[in-house]
């Protein structure tokens, strides 16, 4: 299932440690890069979108285990505690991206998911 994650700029270092912890190699600590998305208040976010395995889901919802390539478990745990997960089923609307939260939308196309979180590309002058 495709996951799309919005990460407030202040949480990027922690979120990248979580990505490194749950990922496939140490290179996954580059998951959240430039904060090129923004909400209605012009707060900036980085975003990632990918097909998550069952192992990723179970890892994200269980006590974290340091991978063989290492990670900062304290930072990763802080990011894990900030996860808000929404799955595209039923009638509920996805949550808006929020400062202090790693908002995870599951089951939607990446761009649609980001729009559903109230985010748009920071260089998109249309406001849409």
């Amino acid at each position: 299932m495709r996951l799309t994650i919005s990460c407030p700029v202040a949480m990027i270092p922690d979120a990248n440690q979580l990505a490194r912890c749950l990922g496939l190699s140490g290179a996954d600590d580059q998951t959240f890069g430039a904060a090129t998305w923004q909400d209605a208040s012009a707060n900036r976010y980085a975003a990632a979108s990918f097909e998550a395995s069952d192992a990723w889901f179970s890892g994200a919802t269980s006590p974290l285990i340091e991978p063989e390539w290492g990670c900062d478990l304290a930072a990763a745990s802080r990011a894990q505690a900030a996860i808000v997960l929404w799955i595209a089923e039923g009638e509920t609307e996805p949550p808006l991206a929020a400062l202090g939260k790693l908002t995870v939308v599951a089951g939607l196309d990446g761009r649609i998911a980001l729009a559903s979180m109230g985010l748009r590309a920071a260089n998109d002058a249309s406001g849409g």
């Binding site: 299932m1 990505a19 998951t31 609307e93 761009r111 979180m117």
Partner: protein, 361 residues
């Protein structure tokens, strides 16, 4: 036994005798890179090249360069990798992602409670006409007039523009139960404003009988910027219902009429009977990247690519040493760069080659 040899110094790794290949423009001293996702043996799921790509829907972490320069495109961060995808050469029309994935509960859930009614997927498979079907039973006592959640419609959300016509359609017939309290099954086209604000919807005609009936609805986008579909069981409230429908061929497409069904298993796997498959790298347009590191290609370089939008060849490019992105659209079919201008003959051959790729050859 027949021996075929090529000892020329300009020989390229992939240079079929019968068909011209852009590897042929890379002669002695020609620098650059050449990516061809249709050569599956050049694709690997990881950036180290340990795990080959064997099917659509798998991530692509490494594309081996076909220019002979060894400039492979790679992505070390797993979440940023594109996916191998295929789509019909005639064009991608059906954006109801997962409509053909009838045994996948992510698209066609096993049971869903909505407005007092429970939809239960009884069976799925291929119908006699070759269309994937789902048999769904609805039971319960309705507290509302519709059950709309037997298919995960979020997968059908698509960007739309004011003035566009969008058509949703599906084929349905009643295969069990009764019409007591049931008006029928229909397909709606729903206009929204992103993220998910309802604007308006057009309801399709009701399918209620025991023969295949196409329910179709067309909505001209009036003010929104997004469209989706919904499969709606229309009922009366307050009385118990028990009805089963066979549903197949769900399609959401641009235009005002239903066209030939495209089997949409996911956004990575869309096929159509009678159409060749076009292989591409699917870019989520959020964070995917598959860069190639190239040397200085100078100030008269040429870049080409083929995407779902068409083929382009751009000359007189200044490309310094460093990273060059190979993903050029939502679906990248071919990409190349070389440190020189192409001749008119080479440009013509390359144009024909890229168009052949877009035609699924």
């Amino acid at each position: 036994m027949k021996f075929v040899s090529d000892f020329s110094f300009t020989s390229a790794p992939h240079r079929p005798r019968a068909d011209w290949h852009p590897g042929q423009v890379f002669g002695i001293g020609a620098l650059g890179a050449l990516c061809d996702p249709s050569i599956m043996s050049s694709l690997f799921q990881d950036s180290a090249g340990a795990t080959p790509v064997t099917a659509q829907g798998q991530p692509v972490g490494l594309v081996r360069d076909q220019s002979g320069n060894g400039n492979h495109a790679a992505q070390a961060t797993s979440t940023k990798r594109p996916y191998l995808a295929r789509y019909p050469a005639g064009g991608l029309r059906n954006v109801a992602h997962g409509s053909a994935a009838v045994d996948n509960v992510a698209y066609w859930p096993a049971t869903v409670l909505h407005n007092g009614m429970t939809s239960t997927k009884l069976a799925s498979g291929l119908d006699t006409d070759g269309l994937p079907f789902v048999d769904i039973q609805w039971t319960g006592t309705p507290t509302g007039t519709l059950h709309q959640l037997c298919f995960a419609v979020a997968n059908t959300r698509n960007a739309a523009s004011v003035g566009q016509s969008w058509t949703a359609s599906a084929i349905a017939k009643r295969t069990g139960g009764t019409l007591s309290g049931v008006y029928g099954l229909r397909v709606d086209t729903v206009e929204e404003t992103a993220p998910a604000t309802y604007v308006a919807a057009v309801s399709g005609n009701l399918a209620s009988g025991e023969v295949d009936t196409i329910s179709t609805s067309t909505r001209v986008i009036a003010s929104g910027n997004q469209v989706r579909t919904a499969i709606s069981l229309s009922v009366a409230t307050g009385a118990p219902i028990d009805v089963t429908y066979r549903v197949k061929g769900l399609q959401l497409e641009l235009g005002s009429t239903r066209t030939a069904y495209q089997h949409n298993m996911s956004q990575y796997d869309i096929t159509e009977a009678g159409q060749r498959d076009v292989w591409a790298l699917y870019n989520d347009a959020v964070d995917d990247a598959l860069p190639v590191t190239v040397p200085d290609l100078g100030t008269d370089a040429t870049i080409w690519c083929a995407t779902e939008a068409g083929a382009t060849i751009t000359g007189a490019q200044t490309i310094g040493a460093g990273s060059l992105e190979t993903l050029r659209g939502t679906r990248t079919v071919a990409f190349g760069a070389i440190n020189r201008a192409l001749t008119a003959a080479e440009t013509a051959r390359l144009t024909a080659y890229l168009n052949r790729k877009l035609a699924g050859y």
